[in-house]
């Protein structure tokens, strides 16, 4: 509506017809409607084809991602050869080759992301049609929680790293951040994969992979696209992603919840436990990937806008949202586990601390968005609240892990206590959470108390700041991996197939080998945590003195 009602009343009824924007919006709606129709109609047929072709169908089924990988490799090689050319080709004048590479990368990645997302949708449809138990029967024996998490993380880190390589060849400065994040995120994932002995078992059900791929590709897609988007676009992407995650995870829960009323209590409990084992890795994956996603969005927004007011608002807002999401997911999971599965309880204090951290994180989320209208000072203050609440949450998680140590020590298992790998893993991972809590507390205190810390505009080189932001996240993810590993170790301890540790059989050696690797992984993660603390303190000081 234009200004003044008198003007609006005489608006003529003729003009140039539909605007180009309206035409393209209409075309896009029809196009996506058609694509949705095709996807939904052919979903069942595709799934049937996959299940009859395992593992060949597995390879073909993920071919969009494979093709995307091939495209990326070709583009990287092409960029490399182009960068060696001493003089640009005349025909390319005005259209830098790097931009062409960049746009093609976006095309390929969006393809993979969209394709795999639709695949995920098809999986949910399949589940809703009553074949859930088939999946459950195939999944339950493997209990692939730690494997999934580590495979996901490795995939994400690998993709991030590869995209960093491509962007580096294309001459874009975002490449440094992607390379660093990819490398650091790969370490805990690689370690965790080393711990497991059947990671690449082809019997891993396809739905799990179909859950992993779209999310990892989506992350990369957003990392690449966000620096080119307007702030409104960032918000829209954030909203769409958040809604997608909530809807998909909610649908998974609703569809998978036990429905059989005629079963005995024990059967229902067993079914519930099996479903928990099924959903647990997904919660971890959702939480971890959301955290990475929003972190990437925040970093990209900060990077793009060079630390102006809007970028800080978005960066802090996104970080708060990610923390709230992760905390809520973890909290929901812990409460669900403790109060619905009688055999698995820990102290109420730990849950209460975690709950307090979650509530604080949620409050800081609203405070951050609200105070974003009132200047940088209040925003930074809310950012400080966010980090402090995250620290409280980390303490809660650490306490829970310590509780679990106590439980496992009292549990009768075939494994003697001194060799129980889960006790060591749980203890060390709880220490990692405490380290993380100290780190976040420090940063939160800096933001809370020293508003002038970032009042002066730092130099455009944001790598130190990026590391400050990314290292706690990597620590968090590493701790998540360790937690998953410890859960798997718990199940290992409960297994009837566990060999007698006093007999020096090959199985015993394998057990000890895995235990040693787990301990080594935990040690490396702890060293990383300590190093990051040692690195971040002088970095913060450097920023402060600028």
């Amino acid at each position: 509506m234009d200004r003044g009602p008198d003007v609006e009343e005489v608006e003529p009824q003729t003009g140039g017809g539909l605007s180009m924007k309206a035409k393209w919006t209409l075309f896009m709606a029809i196009f996506f409607g058609y694509a949705s129709l095709v996807s939904l109609t052919s979903a069942e047929k595709a799934l049937d084809s996959i299940h009859t072709l395992d593992p060949a169908g597995l390879a073909i089924g993920i071919s969009p991602a494979l093709l995307a990988g091939i495209f990326l490799a070709v583009l990287g090689l092409h960029s490399m050869s182009a960068s060696r050319a001493p003089v640009p080709h005349p025909k390319r004048r005005g259209k830098p080759f790097t931009r062409w590479t960049y746009r093609l990368s976006l095309l390929v990645l969006s393809t993979a992301a969209l394709g795999t997302c639709l695949w995920l949708l098809a999986e949910l449809i399949k589940v809703s049609q009553g074949s859930w138990t088939v999946y459950l029967d195939r999944i339950a024996p493997y209990i692939p929680g730690d494997h999934l998490t580590s495979t996901t993380l490795l995939g994400v880190s690998l993709v991030i790293f590869l995209s960093g390589v491509v962007l580096m060849l294309a001459g874009r400065r975002e490449s440094r951040a992607l390379l660093v994040i990819g490398l650091l995120a790969a370490i805990p994932a690689l370690l965790n994969i080393l711990w497991a002995d059947d990671v690449w078992n082809l019997d891993l059900p396809l739905p799990l992979l179909s859950l992993l791929l779209p999310l990892s590709w989506l992350i990369l897609l957003y990392i690449l696209i966000v620096p080119k988007m307007t702030l409104t676009g960032v918000r829209a992407a954030l909203l769409a992603t958040g809604v997608t995650f909530v809807v998909l995870s909610g649908a998974a829960f609703v569809v998978g919840f036990p429905k059989a009323e005629s079963e005995s209590n024990q059967d229902r409990l067993n079914a519930l436990h099996a479903r928990i084992l099924f959903f647990e890795p997904r919660i971890g994956i959702f939480a971890g990937l959301c955290f990475l996603l929003f972190l990437a969005l925040g970093v990209a927004a900060v990077w793009r806008n060079d630390l102006d007011l809007d970028s800080w608002r978005i960066g802090i807002g996104l970080a708060v949202f990610s923390v709230a999401f992760v905390t809520a997911a973890t909290l929901g999971w812990q409460i669900y586990y403790r109060y619905f599965v009688p055999a698995y309880r820990v102290g109420f204090t730990s849950v209460a601390v975690l709950l307090a951290g979650g509530i604080m994180a949620c409050l800081s989320l609203f405070h951050s968005f609200y105070s974003s209208r009132h200047g940088r000072s209040r925003m930074l203050r809310s950012g400080g609240v966010l980090l402090i609440s995250l620290a409280v949450s980390s303490v809660g998680i650490g306490l829970i892990l310590l509780d679990e140590v106590a439980i496992t020590q009292n549990r009768v298992t075939p494994v003697p206590r001194w060799v129980a790998p889960y006790s060591i893993t749980l203890g060390t991972s709880s220490l990692s959470f405490f380290c993380l809590a100290i780190l976040l507390l420090l940063l939160g205190w800096k933001l809370w108390g020293r508003i002038s810390l970032l009042s002066k505009r730092p130099s455009p080189n944001l790598v130190p700041l990026l590391l400050v932001v990314s290292l706690p996240a990597i620590l968090f993810v590493a701790s998540l991996v360790i937690q998953q590993a410890s859960v798997a170790a718990l199940r290992l301890g409960q297994s009837e197939e566990l060999p007698d540790p006093w007999l020096f059989s090959p199985a015993t050696y394998r057990l000890l080998w895995r235990t040693g690797l787990r301990c080594a992984g935990v040690a490396v993660s702890s060293i990383l945590a300590i190093l990051s603390v040692l690195f971040i303190i002088p970095t913060v000081n450097r920023i402060r003195t600028r």
């Binding site: 003007v7 694509a35 049937d48």
Partner: protein, 197 residues
């Protein structure tokens, strides 16, 4: 190249417009183009602007988004109380609608005031000099891409409906190809939409 101009090039290259974008001190190229439009009018024919009113509208929008009423005030120097204001308002509105239908200007769908602004496509057209190729909104490659996607989807629909059975491997390969084409098409569609949004 300065940071500002680099950013402008990025935005143009990605096809993402910046709503309400005004001419900033560093945008010498935009200022030059605006002067050229008003004084020399050489690139006007190349941009296929039909009337001088359209030229005036485009030139006015270089300084940022404007409502139709504001355009009338700027172009004709009329106040809202003038008797001729309504008639000129209709002319400007029709011209703006015509420009919008060709993708040169755009306005928000929602909001109390919905000022017209230049689209990214318009800037690309105006910046394309006589020695450069005319920027196409929809290239032949795009059309081929959309057609291939629709055809792949149609084949998948036929297979799913049981009209014929190409075998599991072929179907999965077709499925992957469809997703691949759909991804390409989707991004191109979004990019095109953003160029005229």
């Amino acid at each position: 190249m300065s940071e500002a101009s680099s950013g402008s090039e990025d935005s143009e290259e990605s096809g993402i417009s910046e709503p309400g974008r005004s001419v900033e001190p560093g945008d010498e190229e935009l200022v030059r183009l605006k002067d050229e439009l008003l004084r020399d009018r050489k690139p006007v024919r190349e941009a296929e602007l039909k009337t001088s009113l359209e030229i005036e509208i485009i030139s006015s929008l270089f300084d940022g988004g404007k409502t139709v009423a504001e355009l009338v005030e700027i172009v004709f120097g009329l106040d809202r109380d003038d008797a001729d204001f309504m008639a000129q308002y209709s002319r400007v509105w029709r011209a703006a609608q015509d420009l919008a239908s060709r993708g040169f200007v755009s306005r928000s769908l929602f909001g109390k005031e919905k000022p017209y602004r230049l689209t990214s496509y318009c800037l690309q057209v105006l910046f394309s000099g006589p020695d450069r190729s005319w920027p196409e909104l929809v290239s032949r490659i795009d059309i081929s891409l959309y057609t291939a996607t629709v055809l792949a989807g149609a084949v998948m629909l036929l297979v799913a409906a049981g009209w014929f059975d190409p075998g599991d491997i072929v179907f999965l390969a077709l499925n992957s190809v469809f997703f691949l084409l759909l991804g390409f098409s989707s991004l191109r569609t979004i990019e095109t939409l953003l160029r005229v949004a």
